[in-house]
């Protein structure tokens, strides 16, 4: 029996269909991360679980109870907000004990719960302060502490780290993962940051336009995305997409012609359905799969390019390479360069000519509807 279950949940805002028949089942103790671009429905889904949003149709079950019509306070959930939502006129201790006080629990029990939560989060010396005297990280700890004191069935996090600076975010990520191990509670976490998703989740749920595109373990989603959207959403730097056309299809191998390239590329495919020749496809190459030089034995694709920009990150280098006639479908920044991630510091500089190649096994192929056509890859792979 799953701990949290959403059954055919639909949500309309007026005429806008925000959630389209969402089904999700979360086991006890899982750390679920819901990701997706803005307006994809991930926050709405979280709020429907919390009960802060009503649903148009469907059912929500928590811990074996149908809570669809229950008030948030009765559902056994605790929520942590992006803006922390601490009560400015209360001390840290009062903030953390608020839920129990509203439930009219004895003061001794409230004090004990606050003390325990404060110890877990190492904010015991801050209990008499007010929120405005705390730093962003401390405030978020108080907000998490406020959730812990109520010992909920399910923790709900709505982009809790988005207001923190990068260094603090990394630290809090580790702390939240530790907290999850320590408490063993079910946690559902919403973020638009795919690094948070990859690092913290026991299971990632990718949302897009009100539907669940794919769910699964982080590495499984990364290596075997169900479709082009998931492939594009997970992974930083972003995967390179190149427009292609199907030339022929035989013996489980698709021969595709890349736009702007003279030669064709062979990609092993799984179930392709009724794909027609000249169908418009998309080839995907992860930045770390592109190698420089001609050292790959089974290179399926290789081309010349000119380095436009080099980003030295210390133990890795990111190159942006202009592939001449061969171009990616582009990024938000509008450039159509290839992104290459090299696992070491390199001496490349802008303007240099390089030869790029990628192995057959590292290529992804997506159909006209965005569905993944290429064969599944081994999850623990040293591609």
């Amino acid at each position: 029996m799953s701990h949290v279950q959403l059954i055919d949940v639909d949500k309309y805002y007026g005429g806008y269909h925000a959630l389209r028949s969402v089904n999700l089942s979360v086991d006890k103790g899982e750390f679920i991360v819901m990701v997706g671009p803005s307006g994809c429905g991930k926050s709405t889904t979280l709020k429907t679980i919390a009960g802060l949003e009503t649903i148009s149709s469907g059912e929500i079950w928590i811990d074996g109870r149908n809570v669809t019509r229950e008030e948030p306070g009765d559902r056994g959930i605790a929520m942590v907000f992006q803006s922390y939502a601490l009560y400015p006129h209360m001390t840290v201790a009062e903030n953390m004990g608020f839920g129990l006080k509203m439930a009219k629990r004895p003061q001794a029990e409230i004090d004990a719960a606050v003390k325990r939560a404060a110890e877990i989060l190492r904010i015991s010396d801050q209990l008499d302060k007010r929120p405005k005297q705390l730093s962003g990280g401390q405030r978020q700890r108080v907000a998490i502490g406020r959730a812990i004191t109520r010992s909920p069935e399910v923790f709900l996090f709505d982009e809790p780290l988005s207001n923190l600076d990068a260094a603090l975010r990394t630290q809090m990520r580790v702390e939240l993962s530790t907290l999850h191990q320590q408490l063993g509670s079910t946690m559902i976490y919403v973020t638009h940051d795919q690094v948070e998703a990859m690092t913290m989740a026991s299971r990632i749920v990718v949302f897009n336009k009100g539907i669940i595109e794919q769910e699964g373990a982080p590495l499984r989603l990364y290596h075997n995305p169900a479709n082009q959207f998931v492939a594009g959403f997970l992974g930083a730097p972003r995967i390179n997409f190149v427009t292609a056309k199907l030339v022929s299809l035989r013996d489980g191998v698709a021969e595709v012609a890349l736009e702007g390239a003279a030669t064709t590329v062979q990609v092993p495919v799984a179930d392709v359905g009724d794909l027609k020749t000249k169908a418009s496809l998309t080839l995907g190459i992860r930045p770390e799969s592109l190698k420089i030089g001609a050292s790959i034995p089974d290179a399926a694709i290789s081309f010349d390019g000119k380095v436009r920009l080099v980003e030295q990150l210390g133990r890795e280098t990111i190159l942006y390479v202009d592939g001449g006639p061969l171009a990616t479908i582009g990024s938000e920044s509008g450039t159509r360069n290839f992104t290459i991630q090299l696992g070491n510091a390199t001496g490349f500089s802008a303007g240099e000519q390089v030869k790029l190649s990628a192995s057959t096994s590292s290529l992804y192929l997506f159909g006209p509807d965005g569905r993944t056509l290429s064969r599944p890859k081994p999850i623990i792979a040293s591609l």
């Binding site: 008030e71 306070g73 939502a85 009560y87 006129h89 608020f98 839920g99 509203m102």
Partner: protein
């Protein structure tokens, strides 16, 4: 040190401007000065026609004593308190409730209801003089404290609701979601979250309403008749009839009447200004 907010004019022009401000200020404060001077004089001095001279014999204390010994001002003063304090309290309670509901709940007719509250503020109160008086007569409340309390509460709640609604609407939404997620009922949310956060607004509103109700003269004479219920503003008028020549006492009584609102305004000035901008800018 600081960037100059406005370009500086020529010194002569600035001098002219400062002089003009001073002139207006004197004109504005002249009546008040006259009242203060009159209140400090003896009746004989005023009878002699020395209106604008410095008092020859400083008689302020004696004049104040006469107010309490020879007139009913103390009774009027108590009447004013009996009318004003419950009115202020009721307006604050009602407008907090209506403001909370209008700001936080999306129900059918919310916008219409809110516009009615706002629109009501644009009606001149005087057009209701005859109907309100007739109403009070027919329900048997004419010439009682309740007539004034009920009217002031009804009339001030419109503006107060606009004020409170905008203030509550400016509170972050997530605060309410957090309270709800923690199991706080709407009533608990209001008591433990909304009201503590609105203390400045409530203080500012209390001063405003207090001043409006305390200073009201029009409705005091429309809705009351007997000295037993008359507030100070109407009572002052009575003094003139009884003490035709004692302008020094009328002036002293006027000062006495003006003390409570002025005192409260200065006590709460900080809250008053902060509260007004909070309601206005973010609403």
């Amino acid at each position: 040190m600081y960037p100059r907010p406005i370009p500086e004019e020529k010194p002569a022009l600035r001098g002219l401007y400062a002089g003009f401000v001073g002139l207006i200020l004197i004109l504005w404060l002249l009546p008040l000065l006259a009242v203060m001077l009159t209140a400090s004089k003896t009746a004989d001095e005023i009878m002699a026609g020395k209106y604008w001279t410095w008092p020859e014999h400083f008689n302020l204390i004696e004049n104040f004593q006469s107010i309490f010994q020879q007139t009913n001002m103390w009774g009027y003063f108590i009447n004013s308190l009996i009318i004003t304090l419950p009115s202020v309290l009721l307006v604050l309670v009602l407008s907090t409730l209506t403001g909370y509901v209008l700001a936080r709940y999306n129900f059918r007719g919310n916008a219409l209801l809110f516009s009615l509250f706002v629109g009501g503020n644009f009606l001149p109160a005087q057009i209701m003089m005859i109907p309100v008086r007739d109403l009070m007569v027919s329900v048997g409340l004419y010439d009682t404290y309740f007539a004034l309390i009920i009217f002031h509460v009804a009339f001030q709640t419109g503006f107060a609701t606009l004020f409170m609604r905008n203030f509550i609407a400016a509170l972050p939404d997530e605060l309410f979601q957090a309270a709800r997620a923690e199991g706080a009922s709407p009533w608990q949310t209001m008591r433990h979250v909304v009201i503590p956060l609105m203390r400045p607004a409530l203080a500012a509103l209390a001063i405003l309403i207090f001043t409006f109700v305390w200073n009201d003269y029009f409705w005091a004479i429309v809705l009351t008749q007997s000295d037993v219920v008359k507030p100070v503003t109407a009572g002052l008028n009575n003094l003139r009839g009884e003490w035709t020549s004692a302008w020094n006492i009328v002036a002293a009584a006027t000062l006495f009447v003006a003390v409570p609102p002025v005192l409260m305004f200065f006590l709460m000035q900080k809250h008053f200004i902060a509260g007004l901008t909070m309601g206005a800018v973010k609403g």
